[in-house]
Protein backbone atom coordinates (compact mmCIF):
# COMPACT_ATOMS: atom_id res chain seq x y z
CA UNK A 1 0.00 0.00 0.00
CA UNK A 2 1.49 3.39 -0.96
CA UNK A 3 2.16 5.77 1.92
CA UNK A 4 -0.54 8.36 2.53
CA UNK A 5 1.68 11.41 2.81
CA UNK A 6 0.05 14.14 0.77
CA UNK A 7 -2.40 16.79 1.94
CA UNK A 8 -3.99 18.78 -0.89
CA UNK A 9 -3.86 22.55 -0.35
CA UNK A 10 -7.65 22.82 0.05
CA UNK A 11 -7.48 20.23 2.86
CA UNK A 12 -5.18 22.26 5.08
CA UNK A 13 -8.32 23.42 6.90
CA UNK A 14 -8.88 19.79 7.94
CA UNK A 15 -5.67 19.97 9.92
CA UNK A 16 -6.83 23.19 11.60
CA UNK A 17 -10.21 21.64 12.43
CA UNK A 18 -8.66 18.44 13.71
CA UNK A 19 -6.30 20.28 16.07
CA UNK A 20 -9.12 22.44 17.41
CA UNK A 21 -11.29 19.36 17.91
CA UNK A 22 -8.44 17.94 19.99
CA UNK A 23 -8.66 21.00 22.22
CA UNK A 24 -5.62 22.86 20.98
CA UNK A 25 -5.39 26.61 20.78
CA UNK A 26 -3.77 27.34 17.40
CA UNK A 27 -0.86 29.72 17.00
CA UNK A 28 0.54 30.44 13.58
CA UNK A 29 2.18 32.98 11.30
CA UNK A 30 0.22 36.03 10.24
CA UNK A 31 1.06 39.26 8.48
CA UNK A 32 0.80 41.94 11.17
CA UNK A 33 2.38 45.39 11.06
CA UNK A 34 4.45 44.48 8.03
CA UNK A 35 6.06 41.42 9.56
CA UNK A 36 5.35 37.71 10.01
CA UNK A 37 4.21 37.28 13.61
CA UNK A 38 3.07 34.11 15.37
CA UNK A 39 -0.30 34.81 16.95
CA UNK A 40 -3.43 32.83 17.87
CA UNK A 41 -5.60 31.97 14.86
CA UNK A 42 -8.53 29.73 14.03
CA UNK A 43 -8.71 29.49 10.23
CA UNK A 44 -6.40 28.85 7.30
CA UNK A 45 -7.22 32.17 5.63
CA UNK A 46 -5.51 34.01 8.48
CA UNK A 47 -2.17 32.60 7.31
CA UNK A 48 -0.04 34.69 4.95
CA UNK A 49 -0.87 34.10 1.29
CA UNK A 50 1.71 34.71 -1.43
CA UNK A 51 3.82 36.64 1.05
CA UNK A 52 7.56 36.66 0.42
CA UNK A 53 10.39 38.50 2.10
CA UNK A 54 13.49 40.54 1.54
CA UNK A 55 15.88 40.31 4.47
CA UNK A 56 19.25 42.01 4.44
CA UNK A 57 21.48 43.30 7.24
CA UNK A 58 19.28 45.83 9.02
CA UNK A 59 16.37 45.26 6.68
CA UNK A 60 13.14 43.25 6.75
CA UNK A 61 10.45 43.78 4.09
CA UNK A 62 7.43 41.75 3.01
CA UNK A 63 6.53 41.41 -0.67
CA UNK A 64 3.11 40.39 -1.92
CA UNK A 65 2.98 37.93 -4.87
CA UNK A 66 0.01 36.19 -6.49
CA UNK A 67 1.20 32.75 -5.39
CA UNK A 68 -1.22 30.78 -3.23
CA UNK A 69 1.58 29.55 -1.00
CA UNK A 70 1.17 30.15 2.73
CA UNK A 71 4.75 29.63 3.87
CA UNK A 72 6.87 31.26 1.14
CA UNK A 73 8.92 33.33 3.61
CA UNK A 74 11.73 32.48 6.03
CA UNK A 75 10.79 33.80 9.46
CA UNK A 76 9.61 36.77 11.48
CA UNK A 77 11.18 38.51 14.45
CA UNK A 78 9.89 35.89 16.89
CA UNK A 79 8.48 32.39 16.73
CA UNK A 80 8.52 29.88 19.59
CA UNK A 81 10.58 31.60 22.29
CA UNK A 82 7.82 33.85 23.70
CA UNK A 83 5.50 30.84 23.95
CA UNK A 84 7.76 28.87 26.29
CA UNK A 85 10.03 31.51 27.87
CA UNK A 86 7.46 34.19 28.65
CA UNK A 87 8.82 37.72 28.03
CA UNK A 88 7.50 38.83 31.41
CA UNK A 89 5.97 36.66 34.11
CA UNK A 90 5.46 36.54 37.85
CA UNK A 91 7.50 33.89 39.64
CA UNK A 92 6.08 34.32 43.13
CA UNK A 93 4.24 36.80 45.31
CA UNK A 94 4.99 37.93 48.82
CA UNK A 95 2.50 39.26 51.29
CA UNK A 96 3.13 41.56 54.25
CA UNK A 97 0.68 40.85 57.07
CA UNK A 98 -0.51 43.25 59.75
CA UNK A 99 1.73 41.69 62.41
CA UNK A 100 4.76 42.34 60.19
CA UNK A 101 5.17 38.72 59.11
CA UNK A 102 5.81 37.75 55.49
CA UNK A 103 4.40 34.87 53.48
CA UNK A 104 5.33 33.66 50.02
CA UNK A 105 3.10 32.13 47.40
CA UNK A 106 3.60 30.54 44.04
CA UNK A 107 1.56 31.90 41.19
CA UNK A 108 0.78 28.91 39.03
CA UNK A 109 -0.99 29.67 35.79
CA UNK A 110 -2.03 26.51 33.97
CA UNK A 111 -0.77 26.41 30.39
CA UNK A 112 -3.21 26.08 27.49
CA UNK A 113 -2.49 23.18 25.12
CA UNK A 114 -1.20 24.99 22.05
CA UNK A 115 -0.50 23.75 18.54
CA UNK A 116 2.00 25.91 16.68
CA UNK A 117 1.72 25.82 12.91
CA UNK A 118 4.56 26.76 10.61
CA UNK A 119 7.55 26.13 12.85
CA UNK A 120 10.93 26.34 11.10
CA UNK A 121 13.89 23.97 11.45
CA UNK A 122 16.06 26.75 12.91
CA UNK A 123 13.45 27.43 15.57
CA UNK A 124 13.00 23.76 16.44
CA UNK A 125 16.76 23.53 16.95
CA UNK A 126 16.72 26.68 19.09
CA UNK A 127 13.84 25.25 21.12
CA UNK A 128 15.97 22.17 21.79
CA UNK A 129 18.69 24.53 23.10
CA UNK A 130 16.21 26.27 25.39
CA UNK A 131 14.95 22.85 26.51
CA UNK A 132 18.49 22.06 27.65
CA UNK A 133 18.96 25.35 29.45
CA UNK A 134 15.55 25.44 31.14
CA UNK A 135 15.34 21.69 31.80
CA UNK A 136 14.65 22.18 35.51
CA UNK A 137 12.77 25.49 35.27
CA UNK A 138 9.13 24.78 36.20
CA UNK A 139 7.75 27.92 34.52
CA UNK A 140 9.35 27.07 31.21
CA UNK A 141 8.49 23.37 31.45
CA UNK A 142 4.83 24.05 32.05
CA UNK A 143 4.49 26.09 28.85
CA UNK A 144 6.77 23.79 26.91
CA UNK A 145 4.87 20.62 27.79
CA UNK A 146 1.67 22.19 26.45
CA UNK A 147 3.07 22.58 22.91
CA UNK A 148 2.33 20.53 19.82
CA UNK A 149 4.66 21.48 16.98
CA UNK A 150 3.70 21.45 13.31
CA UNK A 151 6.74 22.36 11.27
CA UNK A 152 6.86 23.58 7.70
CA UNK A 153 10.15 23.06 5.86
CA UNK A 154 11.64 26.35 4.77
CA UNK A 155 11.35 26.77 1.01
CA UNK A 156 12.26 30.45 0.77
CA UNK A 157 15.23 31.18 3.05
CA UNK A 158 16.23 34.81 3.29
CA UNK A 159 19.59 36.24 2.31
CA UNK A 160 20.35 36.50 6.02
CA UNK A 161 19.75 32.77 6.64
CA UNK A 162 22.55 30.27 7.20
CA UNK A 163 20.76 27.30 8.77
CA UNK A 164 22.19 24.93 6.17
CA UNK A 165 25.71 25.62 7.45
CA UNK A 166 24.75 25.19 11.12
CA UNK A 167 22.99 21.94 10.24
CA UNK A 168 19.60 23.07 11.56
CA UNK A 169 17.64 23.62 8.34
CA UNK A 170 16.15 24.42 5.92
CA UNK A 171 13.94 21.39 6.63
CA UNK A 172 12.59 20.40 10.05
CA UNK A 173 15.02 17.83 11.38
CA UNK A 174 13.88 16.95 14.89
CA UNK A 175 11.52 17.98 17.65
CA UNK A 176 8.36 18.36 15.56
CA UNK A 177 5.17 16.35 15.92
CA UNK A 178 4.27 16.85 12.26
CA UNK A 179 6.26 18.40 9.45
CA UNK A 180 4.90 19.70 6.16
CA UNK A 181 6.68 20.44 2.92
CA UNK A 182 4.70 23.06 1.06
CA UNK A 183 4.46 22.47 -2.69
CA UNK A 184 2.56 24.46 -5.34
CA UNK A 185 -0.69 22.55 -4.89
CA UNK A 186 -0.41 20.95 -1.47
CA UNK A 187 1.79 19.56 1.29
CA UNK A 188 3.92 16.50 1.83
CA UNK A 189 3.41 15.48 5.43
CA UNK A 190 5.48 13.37 7.81
CA UNK A 191 5.21 12.57 11.50
CA UNK A 192 7.96 13.17 14.05
CA UNK A 193 6.19 11.72 17.08
CA UNK A 194 3.45 9.32 18.11
CA UNK A 195 1.08 12.25 18.54
CA UNK A 196 1.87 13.31 15.00
CA UNK A 197 1.27 9.81 13.67
CA UNK A 198 -2.13 9.68 15.32
CA UNK A 199 -3.09 13.02 13.85
CA UNK A 200 -2.05 11.86 10.38
CA UNK A 201 -4.44 8.93 10.49
CA UNK A 202 -7.34 11.37 10.90
CA UNK A 203 -6.41 13.53 7.90
CA UNK A 204 -7.69 13.09 4.33
CA UNK A 205 -4.28 12.10 2.95
CA UNK A 206 -3.44 10.53 -0.38
CA UNK A 207 -0.22 9.10 -1.75
CA UNK A 208 2.04 11.85 -3.10
CA UNK A 209 2.91 11.60 -6.77
CA UNK A 210 6.43 11.04 -7.98
CA UNK A 211 6.34 14.58 -9.37
CA UNK A 212 5.51 15.97 -5.92
CA UNK A 213 8.45 14.20 -4.36
CA UNK A 214 10.70 15.51 -7.11
CA UNK A 215 9.43 19.03 -6.60
CA UNK A 216 10.14 18.72 -2.87
CA UNK A 217 13.65 17.52 -3.53
CA UNK A 218 14.44 20.35 -5.95
CA UNK A 219 12.99 22.83 -3.49
CA UNK A 220 15.10 21.43 -0.65
CA UNK A 221 18.27 21.59 -2.76
CA UNK A 222 17.56 25.18 -3.72
CA UNK A 223 16.75 26.22 -0.17
CA UNK A 224 19.99 24.65 1.03
CA UNK A 225 22.06 26.83 -1.27
CA UNK A 226 22.24 29.82 1.00
CA UNK A 227 24.36 32.91 0.52
CA UNK A 228 25.65 32.98 4.05
CA UNK A 229 27.69 30.33 5.76
CA UNK A 230 29.15 29.99 9.19
CA UNK A 231 32.89 30.72 8.82
CA UNK A 232 35.58 28.47 10.24
CA UNK A 233 36.79 29.38 13.72
CA UNK A 234 37.79 27.62 16.90
CA UNK A 235 34.96 28.00 19.46
CA UNK A 236 37.32 27.33 22.39
CA UNK A 237 39.62 30.17 21.29
CA UNK A 238 36.98 32.91 20.91
CA UNK A 239 37.06 34.00 24.54
CA UNK A 240 40.85 34.40 24.30
CA UNK A 241 40.68 36.77 21.34
CA UNK A 242 39.71 39.75 23.49
CA UNK A 243 42.48 41.90 22.07
CA UNK A 244 41.52 41.36 18.41
CA UNK A 245 40.93 44.61 16.45
CA UNK A 246 37.65 43.21 15.07
CA UNK A 247 35.95 44.02 18.39
CA UNK A 248 36.81 47.71 18.14
CA UNK A 249 35.23 48.03 14.71
CA UNK A 250 32.02 46.25 15.70
CA UNK A 251 31.79 48.19 18.97
CA UNK A 252 31.98 51.45 17.02
CA UNK A 253 28.91 50.43 15.01
CA UNK A 254 26.90 48.61 17.71
CA UNK A 255 24.21 50.63 19.51
CA UNK A 256 24.04 48.14 22.39
CA UNK A 257 20.26 48.13 21.81
CA UNK A 258 19.74 44.43 22.50
CA UNK A 259 17.61 43.76 19.39
CA UNK A 260 19.84 40.80 18.51
CA UNK A 261 19.29 39.15 21.88
CA UNK A 262 15.53 39.81 21.79
CA UNK A 263 15.05 38.19 18.39
CA UNK A 264 17.56 35.40 19.01
CA UNK A 265 15.57 32.20 19.55
CA UNK A 266 18.17 30.73 21.91
CA UNK A 267 19.12 33.75 24.10
CA UNK A 268 17.96 32.92 27.61
CA UNK A 269 19.00 35.78 29.93
CA UNK A 270 16.36 37.28 32.16
CA UNK A 271 16.37 39.76 35.01
CA UNK A 272 14.27 39.53 38.14
CA UNK A 273 12.50 42.51 39.62
CA UNK A 274 9.99 43.42 42.25
CA UNK A 275 6.61 44.99 41.52
CA UNK A 276 5.00 46.07 44.80
CA UNK A 277 1.27 46.71 45.06
CA UNK A 278 0.32 50.33 45.66
CA UNK A 279 -1.20 49.57 49.05
CA UNK A 280 2.09 48.11 50.26
CA UNK A 281 0.68 44.77 51.40
CA UNK A 282 1.81 42.55 48.56
CA UNK A 283 4.55 42.39 45.97
CA UNK A 284 5.14 40.35 42.81
CA UNK A 285 8.54 38.93 42.03
CA UNK A 286 8.79 38.94 38.26
CA UNK A 287 11.23 37.98 35.60
CA UNK A 288 11.58 39.48 32.16
CA UNK A 289 13.89 38.99 29.21
CA UNK A 290 17.22 40.67 29.74
CA UNK A 291 20.15 41.21 27.42
CA UNK A 292 23.89 41.02 27.91
CA UNK A 293 23.87 44.40 26.11
CA UNK A 294 22.07 46.04 29.02
CA UNK A 295 23.82 48.37 31.43
CA UNK A 296 22.99 46.27 34.47
CA UNK A 297 23.76 42.80 33.12
CA UNK A 298 27.29 42.63 34.53
CA UNK A 299 26.66 44.92 37.52
CA UNK A 300 27.89 43.87 40.91
CA UNK A 301 27.95 46.07 44.03
CA UNK A 302 29.20 49.23 42.43
CA UNK A 303 31.20 47.62 39.60
CA UNK A 304 30.38 46.59 36.05
CA UNK A 305 32.49 43.86 34.48
CA UNK A 306 31.46 45.05 31.01
CA UNK A 307 31.15 48.83 31.16
CA UNK A 308 31.35 49.38 27.40
CA UNK A 309 29.72 48.14 24.20
CA UNK A 310 32.88 46.36 23.15
CA UNK A 311 32.81 44.13 26.22
CA UNK A 312 29.10 43.44 25.82
CA UNK A 313 29.28 42.56 22.14
CA UNK A 314 32.24 40.33 22.90
CA UNK A 315 30.27 38.61 25.67
CA UNK A 316 27.34 37.97 23.33
CA UNK A 317 29.39 36.59 20.46
CA UNK A 318 31.86 34.57 22.51
CA UNK A 319 29.01 33.06 24.52
CA UNK A 320 26.77 32.27 21.57
CA UNK A 321 29.48 30.69 19.43
CA UNK A 322 32.09 29.72 22.03
CA UNK A 323 31.13 29.10 25.67
CA UNK A 324 27.78 27.65 24.56
CA UNK A 325 29.61 24.69 23.04
CA UNK A 326 31.18 23.97 26.41
CA UNK A 327 27.85 24.46 28.22
CA UNK A 328 25.50 22.50 26.01
CA UNK A 329 27.58 20.52 23.53
CA UNK A 330 26.94 22.67 20.48
CA UNK A 331 26.87 26.28 19.32
CA UNK A 332 23.99 28.46 20.53
CA UNK A 333 23.33 29.63 16.95
CA UNK A 334 20.90 27.82 14.66
CA UNK A 335 21.37 30.03 11.61
CA UNK A 336 18.02 31.88 11.60
CA UNK A 337 19.74 35.16 10.71
CA UNK A 338 17.36 37.28 12.79
CA UNK A 339 20.19 39.10 14.58
CA UNK A 340 21.40 40.28 11.16
CA UNK A 341 18.03 41.46 9.82
CA UNK A 342 16.85 43.12 13.02
CA UNK A 343 20.11 44.87 13.87
CA UNK A 344 19.33 48.55 13.27
CA UNK A 345 22.86 49.14 11.98
CA UNK A 346 23.11 45.86 10.05
CA UNK A 347 25.96 44.19 11.95
CA UNK A 348 26.63 40.71 10.59
CA UNK A 349 28.17 38.50 13.30
CA UNK A 350 29.36 36.08 10.63
CA UNK A 351 31.71 38.77 9.34
CA UNK A 352 33.04 39.35 12.85
CA UNK A 353 33.53 35.60 13.28
CA UNK A 354 35.32 35.40 9.95
CA UNK A 355 37.75 38.10 11.04
CA UNK A 356 38.31 36.36 14.36
CA UNK A 357 38.77 33.03 12.59
CA UNK A 358 41.57 34.51 10.50
CA UNK A 359 43.54 35.19 13.66
CA UNK A 360 46.09 32.47 14.42
CA UNK A 361 45.36 30.89 17.83
CA UNK A 362 47.02 32.82 20.62
CA UNK A 363 48.85 31.12 23.41
CA UNK A 364 47.93 31.79 27.01
Amino acid sequence: MPTADYLPRHSLSHLFDLLQQHGYRLVGPQVIDGAILYRPLTAVDQLPSGTEQVQQPGQYRLIQTDSSRRFSWANGPQALKPLTFTPRETLWRSQLHEDGSLSFHETPEPATPTAVIGVRGCDLAALALQDQHFADDPYYRQQRDALLLIAVDCSHPADTCFCASTGDGPDAKAGHDLALTELDDGFLIRAGSERGKNLMTALPLTAASHASHQQAETQYRRASQQQRQLPTFDPAQLIHLGGHPAWDAVADACLSCGNCTSVCPSCFCFSESEVPELDGTASSHQRQWDSCFSEGHSYIHGHRFRPDTKGRYRQWLTHKFGSWVEQYGRSGCTGCGRCISWCPVGIDPLQVLAQLGDEPPTSN
Binding site: G100, S101, D136, D290, F305
Partner: protein, 280 residues
Protein backbone atom coordinates in the same frame (compact mmCIF):
# COMPACT_ATOMS: atom_id res chain seq x y z
CA UNK B 1 3.71 23.19 40.54
CA UNK B 2 6.21 23.73 43.31
CA UNK B 3 8.82 26.38 42.88
CA UNK B 4 12.14 24.80 43.82
CA UNK B 5 13.26 27.88 45.68
CA UNK B 6 10.35 29.89 47.00
CA UNK B 7 11.65 32.17 49.79
CA UNK B 8 10.94 31.41 53.40
CA UNK B 9 10.49 33.96 56.19
CA UNK B 10 13.45 34.92 58.38
CA UNK B 11 13.24 37.04 61.53
CA UNK B 12 15.98 39.59 62.25
CA UNK B 13 17.25 38.85 65.76
CA UNK B 14 20.12 41.26 65.79
CA UNK B 15 21.82 43.78 63.56
CA UNK B 16 25.50 44.55 64.13
CA UNK B 17 27.17 47.56 62.56
CA UNK B 18 30.65 46.27 61.70
CA UNK B 19 32.04 49.36 59.97
CA UNK B 20 30.52 52.50 58.53
CA UNK B 21 28.87 50.58 55.67
CA UNK B 22 29.21 46.92 56.64
CA UNK B 23 26.67 45.24 58.86
CA UNK B 24 25.76 41.73 59.97
CA UNK B 25 22.23 40.37 60.21
CA UNK B 26 21.54 37.54 62.63
CA UNK B 27 18.50 35.61 61.49
CA UNK B 28 16.17 32.88 62.62
CA UNK B 29 14.01 30.93 60.17
CA UNK B 30 10.46 31.08 61.49
CA UNK B 31 9.02 28.03 59.71
CA UNK B 32 9.99 24.77 61.47
CA UNK B 33 9.66 22.95 58.13
CA UNK B 34 12.38 25.16 56.61
CA UNK B 35 15.15 24.44 59.10
CA UNK B 36 16.86 22.18 56.55
CA UNK B 37 18.16 25.38 55.01
CA UNK B 38 20.50 25.69 58.00
CA UNK B 39 22.47 22.86 56.43
CA UNK B 40 24.21 25.62 54.48
CA UNK B 41 27.94 24.98 54.14
CA UNK B 42 30.84 27.42 54.34
CA UNK B 43 31.24 29.03 50.91
CA UNK B 44 27.58 28.65 49.91
CA UNK B 45 25.17 31.59 49.72
CA UNK B 46 21.56 32.60 50.27
CA UNK B 47 19.37 35.03 48.40
CA UNK B 48 18.14 37.59 50.92
CA UNK B 49 14.88 39.35 50.06
CA UNK B 50 13.58 42.68 51.35
CA UNK B 51 9.83 42.95 50.89
CA UNK B 52 8.89 45.09 47.92
CA UNK B 53 12.54 45.85 47.05
CA UNK B 54 14.23 42.70 45.77
CA UNK B 55 16.84 40.04 46.38
CA UNK B 56 20.64 39.85 46.53
CA UNK B 57 23.04 36.93 46.96
CA UNK B 58 24.92 37.02 50.26
CA UNK B 59 27.47 34.44 51.26
CA UNK B 60 27.03 32.52 54.44
CA UNK B 61 29.13 33.77 57.34
CA UNK B 62 28.33 31.65 60.38
CA UNK B 63 25.72 29.70 62.31
CA UNK B 64 25.65 30.10 66.07
CA UNK B 65 23.31 28.90 68.81
CA UNK B 66 21.29 31.38 70.86
CA UNK B 67 20.49 30.97 74.58
CA UNK B 68 17.50 28.76 73.73
CA UNK B 69 19.70 26.51 71.64
CA UNK B 70 18.14 27.69 68.39
CA UNK B 71 20.27 28.16 65.34
CA UNK B 72 21.10 31.72 64.34
CA UNK B 73 22.26 32.40 60.81
CA UNK B 74 24.65 35.30 60.25
CA UNK B 75 25.08 37.18 56.97
CA UNK B 76 27.50 40.08 56.59
CA UNK B 77 26.56 42.68 54.00
CA UNK B 78 28.00 45.90 52.62
CA UNK B 79 25.35 48.58 52.09
CA UNK B 80 26.18 49.67 48.58
CA UNK B 81 23.31 48.98 46.18
CA UNK B 82 19.55 49.43 46.24
CA UNK B 83 18.74 46.12 47.95
CA UNK B 84 21.68 46.05 50.36
CA UNK B 85 20.80 49.58 51.51
CA UNK B 86 17.22 48.48 52.10
CA UNK B 87 18.51 45.52 54.10
CA UNK B 88 20.72 47.91 56.08
CA UNK B 89 17.62 49.76 57.26
CA UNK B 90 16.22 46.66 58.99
CA UNK B 91 15.93 46.41 62.75
CA UNK B 92 15.54 43.47 65.13
CA UNK B 93 12.00 42.09 64.85
CA UNK B 94 11.74 42.86 61.11
CA UNK B 95 11.20 40.01 58.64
CA UNK B 96 12.91 39.24 55.38
CA UNK B 97 12.72 36.43 52.84
CA UNK B 98 15.48 33.89 52.30
CA UNK B 99 16.08 31.39 49.48
CA UNK B 100 18.93 28.93 49.56
CA UNK B 101 21.38 27.50 50.19
CA UNK B 102 22.85 27.77 46.70
CA UNK B 103 26.10 26.87 45.00
CA UNK B 104 29.13 24.83 45.93
CA UNK B 105 31.00 25.64 49.12
CA UNK B 106 34.61 25.05 50.16
CA UNK B 107 35.88 21.46 49.70
CA UNK B 108 35.62 20.53 53.38
CA UNK B 109 36.16 16.81 52.91
CA UNK B 110 39.15 17.22 50.65
CA UNK B 111 40.63 19.57 53.27
CA UNK B 112 40.42 17.05 56.10
CA UNK B 113 43.81 16.01 57.41
CA UNK B 114 45.52 18.89 55.60
CA UNK B 115 46.84 22.26 56.60
CA UNK B 116 44.39 25.04 55.76
CA UNK B 117 45.54 28.27 54.21
CA UNK B 118 42.85 30.96 54.01
CA UNK B 119 43.82 34.00 51.95
CA UNK B 120 41.31 36.82 51.78
CA UNK B 121 41.02 40.40 50.69
CA UNK B 122 38.54 43.04 51.77
CA UNK B 123 35.00 41.80 52.38
CA UNK B 124 36.19 38.50 50.87
CA UNK B 125 36.86 37.67 54.48
CA UNK B 126 33.11 37.10 55.17
CA UNK B 127 32.74 33.75 53.33
CA UNK B 128 36.23 32.78 54.50
CA UNK B 129 35.33 33.40 58.14
CA UNK B 130 32.78 30.61 57.73
CA UNK B 131 35.48 28.08 56.91
CA UNK B 132 37.84 29.36 59.62
CA UNK B 133 35.06 29.01 62.20
CA UNK B 134 34.29 25.55 60.85
CA UNK B 135 37.96 24.54 61.14
CA UNK B 136 38.24 25.75 64.73
CA UNK B 137 34.96 24.01 65.60
CA UNK B 138 36.40 20.77 64.16
CA UNK B 139 40.02 21.49 65.09
CA UNK B 140 41.22 17.87 65.12
CA UNK B 141 40.32 17.41 61.45
CA UNK B 142 42.87 19.94 60.23
CA UNK B 143 46.57 20.56 60.59
CA UNK B 144 48.11 24.00 60.76
CA UNK B 145 45.78 26.89 59.99
CA UNK B 146 47.27 29.81 58.04
CA UNK B 147 45.16 32.96 57.83
CA UNK B 148 46.13 35.89 55.65
CA UNK B 149 43.84 38.88 55.48
CA UNK B 150 44.51 41.88 53.30
CA UNK B 151 42.64 45.18 53.27
CA UNK B 152 42.97 48.26 51.12
CA UNK B 153 43.10 50.60 54.10
CA UNK B 154 43.84 49.58 57.67
CA UNK B 155 40.54 51.17 58.75
CA UNK B 156 38.67 48.58 56.62
CA UNK B 157 39.67 45.68 58.84
CA UNK B 158 36.65 43.76 60.10
CA UNK B 159 36.60 41.53 63.15
CA UNK B 160 39.99 42.57 64.46
CA UNK B 161 39.36 40.84 67.80
CA UNK B 162 38.52 37.62 66.01
CA UNK B 163 41.85 37.66 64.15
CA UNK B 164 43.68 38.48 67.36
CA UNK B 165 41.94 35.57 69.06
CA UNK B 166 42.81 33.16 66.25
CA UNK B 167 46.43 34.35 66.32
CA UNK B 168 46.72 33.09 69.89
CA UNK B 169 45.52 29.57 69.04
CA UNK B 170 48.03 26.74 68.75
CA UNK B 171 49.14 25.63 65.28
CA UNK B 172 47.78 28.84 63.81
CA UNK B 173 49.43 31.64 61.87
CA UNK B 174 47.62 34.93 61.32
CA UNK B 175 49.16 37.57 59.04
CA UNK B 176 47.51 40.83 58.14
CA UNK B 177 48.29 43.36 55.44
CA UNK B 178 46.97 46.80 54.57
CA UNK B 179 47.84 48.46 51.25
CA UNK B 180 47.55 51.77 53.07
CA UNK B 181 48.25 51.61 56.79
CA UNK B 182 47.31 54.29 59.28
CA UNK B 183 49.72 55.04 62.14
CA UNK B 184 49.49 52.35 64.79
CA UNK B 185 48.77 49.48 62.33
CA UNK B 186 50.73 46.71 63.99
CA UNK B 187 50.89 44.40 60.97
CA UNK B 188 52.34 44.41 57.49
CA UNK B 189 51.95 47.32 55.12
CA UNK B 190 51.76 46.05 51.53
CA UNK B 191 50.20 43.27 49.51
CA UNK B 192 49.03 39.84 50.66
CA UNK B 193 51.29 38.14 48.11
CA UNK B 194 54.27 39.39 50.11
CA UNK B 195 52.83 37.76 53.23
CA UNK B 196 52.27 34.48 51.40
CA UNK B 197 56.04 34.39 50.81
CA UNK B 198 56.57 34.42 54.57
CA UNK B 199 54.27 31.47 55.31
CA UNK B 200 55.93 28.32 56.62
CA UNK B 201 53.91 26.21 54.16
CA UNK B 202 53.95 22.46 53.88
CA UNK B 203 52.89 22.76 50.22
CA UNK B 204 52.06 19.12 49.50
CA UNK B 205 49.68 18.99 52.47
CA UNK B 206 47.97 22.36 52.22
CA UNK B 207 44.55 23.26 50.90
CA UNK B 208 44.04 26.92 50.03
CA UNK B 209 40.76 28.84 50.31
CA UNK B 210 40.98 32.22 48.63
CA UNK B 211 38.38 34.94 48.48
CA UNK B 212 38.65 38.53 47.40
CA UNK B 213 39.04 40.71 44.32
CA UNK B 214 39.99 38.64 41.25
CA UNK B 215 43.42 40.22 40.63
CA UNK B 216 44.32 39.57 44.26
CA UNK B 217 43.14 35.93 44.04
CA UNK B 218 45.02 35.40 40.80
CA UNK B 219 48.24 36.87 42.19
CA UNK B 220 47.86 34.84 45.38
CA UNK B 221 47.29 31.60 43.49
CA UNK B 222 50.34 32.18 41.29
CA UNK B 223 52.48 32.98 44.32
CA UNK B 224 51.30 29.82 46.11
CA UNK B 225 52.09 27.75 43.02
CA UNK B 226 55.60 29.28 43.00
CA UNK B 227 55.83 27.99 46.58
CA UNK B 228 54.97 24.51 45.25
CA UNK B 229 51.33 24.32 46.32
CA UNK B 230 49.58 22.14 43.69
CA UNK B 231 47.20 24.23 41.56
CA UNK B 232 44.29 21.86 42.23
CA UNK B 233 44.65 22.42 45.98
CA UNK B 234 43.82 26.12 45.50
CA UNK B 235 40.13 27.06 45.63
CA UNK B 236 38.69 30.47 44.81
CA UNK B 237 35.31 31.95 45.68
CA UNK B 238 34.01 33.83 42.63
CA UNK B 239 31.44 36.56 42.34
CA UNK B 240 29.16 37.79 39.56
CA UNK B 241 25.70 39.33 39.23
CA UNK B 242 23.20 36.68 40.37
CA UNK B 243 19.44 37.01 40.12
CA UNK B 244 17.93 33.52 39.91
CA UNK B 245 20.65 31.53 41.74
CA UNK B 246 19.63 28.44 39.73
CA UNK B 247 21.85 28.76 36.65
CA UNK B 248 19.13 30.16 34.38
CA UNK B 249 19.17 33.96 34.33
CA UNK B 250 22.57 34.13 32.63
CA UNK B 251 24.07 37.05 34.57
CA UNK B 252 26.70 35.09 36.47
CA UNK B 253 28.29 33.44 33.46
CA UNK B 254 32.08 33.38 33.64
CA UNK B 255 32.93 31.90 30.27
CA UNK B 256 31.03 28.60 30.27
CA UNK B 257 30.52 28.43 34.02
CA UNK B 258 27.44 29.65 35.83
CA UNK B 259 29.02 30.95 39.03
CA UNK B 260 25.80 30.55 41.06
CA UNK B 261 25.55 26.86 40.23
CA UNK B 262 29.04 25.70 39.20
CA UNK B 263 30.62 27.92 41.90
CA UNK B 264 30.91 30.18 43.72
CA UNK B 265 33.82 28.12 45.08
CA UNK B 266 35.82 26.59 42.24
CA UNK B 267 39.24 25.00 41.83
CA UNK B 268 41.88 27.33 40.42
CA UNK B 269 42.81 25.19 37.37
CA UNK B 270 39.26 25.49 36.09
CA UNK B 271 39.38 29.30 36.29
CA UNK B 272 43.00 29.94 35.47
CA UNK B 273 42.77 30.66 31.74
CA UNK B 274 39.81 33.04 32.14
CA UNK B 275 40.93 35.06 35.17
CA UNK B 276 42.15 38.47 34.16
CA UNK B 277 40.45 38.43 30.75
CA UNK B 278 38.79 41.79 30.24
CA UNK B 279 35.00 41.70 30.33
CA UNK B 280 34.65 37.97 31.07
Amino acid sequence: MTHPALPTEALILNRIQETEDIFTLQLRLTDPAQQWRLGIQPGQFNMLYRFGVGEIPISFMAIAQDEQGQSVLAHTIRALGRVSQALAALLPGDRIGLRGPFGNGWPLQQAEGMDLCVVTGGLGCAPAVSIIEHAFANRALYGHIHIIQGVKHSADLLWRSRYEFWAQQPETTVLMAADVAAPGWPWYSGRVTELIKRLPLNPEHTLVCCCGPEPMMQASAEQLIRQHVPADAIWLSMERNMQCASGHCGHCQFGADFICRDGPVMPYPRLRDRLGLEGV
